[in-house]
Amino acid sequence: AKSRQKRDAKRKKKAEISSLDYRSNPYTDPQIQYNSRTCKIQTLYVSFRDLQWQDWIIAPDGYDAYYCSGECNFPLNAHMNATNHAIVQTLVHLVNPGKVPKPCCAPTKLSPISVLYFLDESNVILKKYKNMVVKSCGCH
């Protein structure tokens, strides 16, 4: 019973601190956290067809490149990654916002695409391009 009382007191204290943190820190406010400008993956389709390269690039017609955009506010969404440096930079930014900027929202994982195109009138090439598609975003 004693240990339960101790545990409950600890939990209560922790809850108080955490609610205080949220009140005093706009960067951890869920309202701000999930606004449209939070760092996240955004849709970007590169269309070779729209660029009128389809007479030259045989496949694909285009590809989902995606991009990362938004502000690095903490805590990030659960699926977001941030480097230790980014967290430190955010904290220093809170102390001195005019001097130290927020960290960058950038890709953390990228994947390749393959493109098939005519090299000239008769020769054809299938080439793998690394790091062309954003798989996930995070703060750096």
């Binding site: 900027p101 929202c105 020769n123």
Partner: protein
């Protein structure tokens, strides 16, 4: 011109949300420049000329683009459907080379005529390999030929034959000097693609472009090595044959990681 987290008069710029810049629609010329930059990044600095529009349609029906399109589609497919056999009859070595490759190039066969050369009964095939990327490690190169039994001149010519590829070394007074490259047996009554390993020849041509005098293809009945025949007599499709059965060369490369780009 502002990068991520760059400060501009007290405001920091973040991911394109630069509040100090008024966004505008770019001009047609600027749009072209941006497109050119994307092409440059892809290692394709020149836009295709406009007059070539829609020329891709019939070209894609040729054997070499079809071969690569087959590999491209197979590469996108999941494991289960990837195991289906393609019409090009890919060997285990081919599949390994495909998996290891960063660049796969095909070269259409040309009739690169050299006036002083007597061709006798064999066939000379020439490939423009000037576009082979520098700094790439070649894994393998193959010459692919299609044997169509319908096109064999007689029932006798549907039997077993040996196809041998030689690299043409020197041409003096109309005489050839040949170096053996590889040989393959075309089994009796079997139609389809035949492949010969021509890695050695391609490596030599890339290193010595002036020495590219093509390949000489010789055909003999499997049991009589002295009797040379024309490849078309046994049904081997030439570069003037049906588009999807024309001979071509394919090379597999592994990227060295060094990227050469045209100056922007």
């Amino acid at each position: 011109g502002s990068g991520c987290s760059e400060r501009t008069s007290g405001l920091y710029v973040d991911n394109g949300y630069d509040q100090t810049v008024v966004h505008r629609v770019i001009t047609q010329r600027e749009k072209r420049e941006v497109e050119h930059e994307i092409l440059n990044l892809l290692g394709l600095p020149d836009r295709p000329p406009k007059h070539k529009a829609n020329s891709a349609g019939p070209q894609v029906k040729r054997s070499a683009p079809k071969f690569l399109l087959d590999i491209y589609r197979n590469g996108l497919a999941d494991e289960e459907s990837r195991e289906h056999q393609t019409e090009f009859g890919l060997s285990g070595q081919d599949l390994r080379a495909i998996d290891q490759s960063d660049v796969i190039m095909t070269f259409a066969a040309h009739n690169h005529h050299v006036p002083s050369v007597r061709h006798e009964r064999g066939k000379r095939l020439w490939f423009d390999v000037s576009e082979v990327p520098e700094n790439e490690h070649m894994i393998n190169a193959e010459l692919r030929l299609y044997r169509s039994l319908d096109q064999a001149k007689s029932a006798k010519n549907r039997g077993a034959f040996t196809l041998t590829a030689y690299r043409v070394l020197r041409l003096e007074d109309g005489e050839r000097e040949l170096q053996y490259i590889d040989a393959v047996n075309a089994t009796a009554g079997r139609e389809g693609w035949l492949s010969l390993n021509v890695s050695e020849a391609l490596q030599y041509w890339v290193a010595n472009p002036a020495g590219n005098r093509g390949l000489y293809l010789s055909v003999h009945p499997a049991d009589r090595q002295v009797h040379e025949m024309k490849p078309e007599d046994i049904g081997v499709v030439g570069f003037r044959g049906v588009a999807e059965r024309q001979p071509f060369m394919v090379a597999f490369f592994k990227s060295s990681g060094i990227r050469s780009r045209a100056a922007a």
